[in-house]
């Protein structure tokens, strides 16, 4: 017996795909993913309507989704992040039902507890065996960790592994275990490697970004957290990555060996592991080829599920053991609320991902951002959308200085003592506005097109359509 099915169509028929179902997808193949488009094209051909897409993230490569919405194949989206093209279409009102945004921790919690019910999980797997054991470390579309697919595999009514690289039974290691898999489909290709991992992620060369990163590393140094066992997470953005470059010599000088690096893992964190700055990496998502190789070869670099990474309903999650997280922002307001859902016109162009989870869990959550982008100040009176509530954000770091949440007076004193240029967040806002002027307020006033579900299940904000 094996679980091989001849084609995607046959698998969808075998799963009894019908109108109104919820289909889930993970985003480990990022902007190279071909599976979501293949499944929806097939569903459209089958005449299916009214599907809800439960995707951990959506990228521009998934733009055909917009046509499936227009034709009624898809009528609902639940996701943790959507990039610009789909975000703009949603902001323009393409979808009648509001998008439900969750976080990387909130999504698995909703699935694990049954609040979200998945009819069929289509799990793109870079390598699989005929019984459905699957991983992300082999094959032409190797992406490393499959952490975001694990709750889906455990709880969906039907689980379909879609792969372009078969290996003999038993595939090892198995990120997704056969006990949860109903069928396996081999297709020609699940993803374009160029869109999956960038090959090498690059630290920014922008001198403003480097200045921000240097300050951010100094904030960590003087936060009191840089002690043996230190743990750290940073995004893959250029300035966030650059923080690692400045943190290394400080850790060396102080003789600090960290315990773990967490989250989306890049080659820079792999270097830190191999050079002994950290003793382990907990990886929910690989961002580049170095990370993919390392998770395959280095036993100190391990895959974690999204539940273990960040779920608020887990008995414990790694974010709760995290010392420092470095995060970005499109806007931050004087109450330290952060927006990474929309651009400065209120148009959707992102989502929390793990932003609000790590901010809530980490002992020090730090936002790095230039004081102005183009002609707009980054600090505003009120963000257009609250992704991450201000009471979970500790410090804003810009090229002209840092602001500390008033709830952390001891941190403010420590940073001042350490020689950092510390200001009130209002002072940073004034500083920016002296250069840019005070921008006119733009706030979309149309109907609600998306709701932001915080990790505690509260709807903390709603995004309106333009016009």
């Amino acid at each position: 017996m094996n679980k091989m099915i001849g084609s995607l169509r046959e698998a969808m028929e075998a799963c009894q795909l019908r109108d109104g179902m919820t289909l889930s997808f993970h985003h480990h193949l990022r902007n190279g993913d071909q599976v979501l488009n293949q499944v929806l094209a097939q569903a459209a051909q089958m005449g299916i309507k009214g599907l809800t897409i439960q995707a951990s993230s959506l990228f521009d490569v998934h733009a055909p989704l917009i046509d499936h919405i227009k034709s009624g194949v898809v009528t609902g989206i639940e996701t943790n992040y959507m990039s610009g093209r789909i975000g703009r279409a949603v902001s323009e009102g393409v979808l009648q039902k509001p998008v439900r945004f969750r976080s990387h921790g909130g999504r698995p919690d909703a699935i694990d507890t049954g609040r979200v019910h998945i009819d069929i999980a289509f799990i793109a797997a870079p390598a699989a065996d005929p019984m459905g054991n699957a991983n992300g470390v082999a094959g032409p579309a190797a992406c490393g960790s499959l952490g975001y697919a694990m709750s889906d595999a455990r709880h969906a009514d039907r689980v379909v592994i879609i792969t372009d690289h078969m290996e003999p039974y038993p595939l090892m290691p198995a990120s997704i275990g056969e006990e949860n898999v109903d069928m396996v489909v081999k297709v020609d290709s699940i993803g374009d490697p160029k869109g999956i991992v960038s090959g090498t992620t690059r630290i920014t060369r922008d001198p403003v970004g480097l200045t921000i990163a240097r300050y951010a590393a100094q904030v960590i140094e003087h936060s009191g957290l840089l002690k043996p066992g230190f743990s750290f997470q940073t995004g893959a953005g250029g300035a966030s990555l650059a923080v690692t470059q400045y943190l290394k010599p400080i850790m060396k000088r102080l003789g600090v060996t960290g315990s773990f690096g967490l989250g989306g893992i890049t080659g820079y964190l792999v270097d830190m592991l191999e050079e002994g700055y950290f003793t382990s990496l907990m990886d929910v998502q690989c961002f580049d080829l170095r990370a993919v190789q390392s998770i395959r070869d280095n036993p100190r670099h391990q895959e974690v599920s999204a539940t273990r990474y960040a779920s608020p309903g887990a008995r414990t999650a790694a974010v709760n053991s995290l010392d420092v997280v470095v995060l970005g922002a499109t806007e931050i307001d004087t109450g330290f609320n952060v927006n990474v859902h929309t651009d400065s016109n209120g148009v959707i162009m992102g989502g929390s991902g793990g932003h609000s989870d790590t901010a809530a869990g980490a002992k020090l959550s730090m936002i790095v951002a230039p004081l102005f982008r183009a002609r707009l100040p980054i600090v505003v009176d009120k963000v257009l959308c609250v992704t991450t509530p201000g009471d979970t954000v500790d410090v804003l770091v810009t090229q002209r200085g840092v602001a500390v949440n008033p709830a952390r007076p001891e941190l403010r004193d420590a940073l001042k003592q350490g020689g950092l240029p510390v200001f009130d967040i209002g002072e940073l806002k004034d500083m920016a506005e002296r250069v840019t002027g005070k921008p006119a307020l733009v706030r979309p006033q149309g109907r609600v097109v998306a709701e932001v579900e915080y990790r505690d299940q509260r709807i903390i904000d709603r995004i309106h359509s333009m016009g």
Binding site: R205, P207, V208, L210, T211, R214, Q399, R400, R434, V435
Partner: protein, 293 residues
Amino acid sequence: MRRTMMFVPGNNPGMLLNADVYGADALILDLEDAVAPGEKDAARVLVRNALRAFDYGSAEIIIRINPLGTPFIEDDIRAVVPLKPAMIMPTKVAGAEDIHAVSAMILEAERANGLPEGSVGLIPLLETAMGIENAYHIATADPRVKAIFLGAEDLSSDLQAIRSKENHEILYARGRVVMAARAAGVDCYDTPFTDVNDDEGLAQDAAFARAIGFTGKAVISPRHVPAVNEAFSPSEQDIAYAREVMAVIQEGERLGRGAVSLRGKMIDKPIVDRARRVLDAAEALGLGGYEHE
């Protein structure tokens, strides 16, 4: 303390906007080589507006103008003097007479704008064989001259030398500029290191410039500022040694001894002078400096 002078193209709004955040002690807002001939007007306007709109904090403002003999210099000086920069940097300066000519133009502009005469300083850029040969005369040509600055790229071309990262071809010029500046009692600045990706080469080059007596060094990339600042700042060991020197000197004075020694080494006036300079610099940079009772 002016250790780093960072070039900022006068026609680049983004660079002008953030020029002061990298920690350079001085900013050279450039109207010369960074700006194409057809854009000189626009750069003058942009630099003027930047200096009116932005607070560059503690960074000293230097404006590099086009050379004598070009059609731009008079407009440059008329545009720049009302902005009250700390210094103007005349380029391709060949001799004392160039300084006299530029200084006269500045004086006229100072009078026209009701500014105190002599308020704007000069940091001539020496980048020709003639300029290097006349370094001392240039440095002493006018009280406005506060420093001289070696420009190796144009100089190497004028020398018909082969430009190299090792900088052997500018060794004489470097020595000559330091010698002239110190004899004239002004500061001297080294040519920028031009490979923006060679951090090690930068550190070595800056350390060499510091060792042979330069006051500081120009940089063409914001990323070079920290390394150059470090090379021209006293190290912790420098400061510790200087403090020991001052302590044994004071002890010697208290005991009425003429000569004192530290770990078997005679402490004479040059060593004391150097220790004072280190501690003065350390105080200016907030690195501690003199021990206060």
